[in-house]
Amino acid sequence: MKLVIGNKNYSSWSFRPWIAMKALGIPFEEVLIPFGAPLGNPDFKAQIARYSPAGLVPVLVDGNIHVWESLAIFEYLSETCPEKHLWPADPRARAEARSIASEMHAGFGPLRSECPMNFRRPVRTRELSAAAQQNVARFEAIWNGCVARHGGPFLFGKFCAADAMYAPGVARLHTYGIEVGRETRSYMEVMMALPAWAEWKAAALRESWIVAEDEVDWPTVLSA
């Protein structure tokens, strides 16, 4: 299988299936297509079109099957690699995991636009709008509720697709120095201690491409 992704520094959608496949031990070949203008890759559109009709990363390629959208990729992997347990085994927990994964997939717009994923940026506090603060509160309620109900250290005990969906959320809260409760911080530490996390982050820091719209201090680019 091939996983087609965008820049590791910025592409939160790419991060989700990548960290899930790494953390769960599903082998794949990575194809990285850096994003386009102004300082990136002028051929992004043409290159991604070969893999995805939607023109979006990530895309999972398995023979002649092309699956785009991170949630659809998780469902595909869950069916093709059942022994890797992408979703919790208990039906009730699985329903909850899919609900919170979908909630992430379609929601949290204010936090996502105010705090773009940006591994290169040094930890620096950013003021949030009231709407983004509500998003943070909802993250905390989801994470802490799941850890409390299912025993931790991940949302449903063992790492699963729901954790992968929230991995960029963890990165955002960390990078922008968002104040969170102690339990929330413990969950974030567990995620950031994954070897897969360290591998992605190290590669992100080696990238030199800049995406201006994801640099909140543009034209200044803060770099750790």
Binding site: I65, E69, A72, E79, A95, R98, S99, H105
Partner: protein, 229 residues
Amino acid sequence: MALRLIIGNKNYSSWSMRPWIGLRAAGIPFDEEVISLYVPGSKEQILKYSPAGKVPVLIDGAVHVWESLAILEYAAEKFPAAGLWPSDPAARAHARAISAEMHAGFAALRNECGMILWRPPAKKALSPEAQANIARIQELWTDARARFGAGGPFLFGKFSAADAMYAPVVARFATYMIDVTPQVATYMAAMTSLPAWREWRRGALTETWVIPKFEESYPTVPRLPADAA
């Protein structure tokens, strides 16, 4: 115990329409509870069922499932014979990809062309972003029909969860009189002839709750007659 689906106004709640029409068209029995949105007390009522505070919510005994995609996945697992997803793995992967694309995308179209089933059909000027959404949707419907649609009039031949995800878009295209290709018009006709579609629409046209922020010319509320075809 029967499944219970908690939904918002049939006239406006596109997210509610997705699992409702999915379950209904697949013949999965459920009871419905309609909560009128954006009125005093509605938020509290929804929070009783869903920690996210949003409709739709599916309740199956102690299991509460929210988000339309998660509800469709839950129903697909619980009722495998209903065939909510296509049985061929390649078709199923494709169906899930376009469903997820709908779930997270097409914001411009959704903002500019709110689902208002009782709105008399009329054109409206749209932004380039909304027009790009419309082009992409027509392309993905046509592509799915061409690749996987041989067995029937829907995206994957017979009706599936992917059609349920796009049902409100069919409503928007009709309400805002979007220019579509003949293939797309044929697909839309298949959708709007579904008994489940007609049942939902009848329910919408007979509702009395008006949500001012969704009405373009409020306090005027142009409405199709309750028995409109």
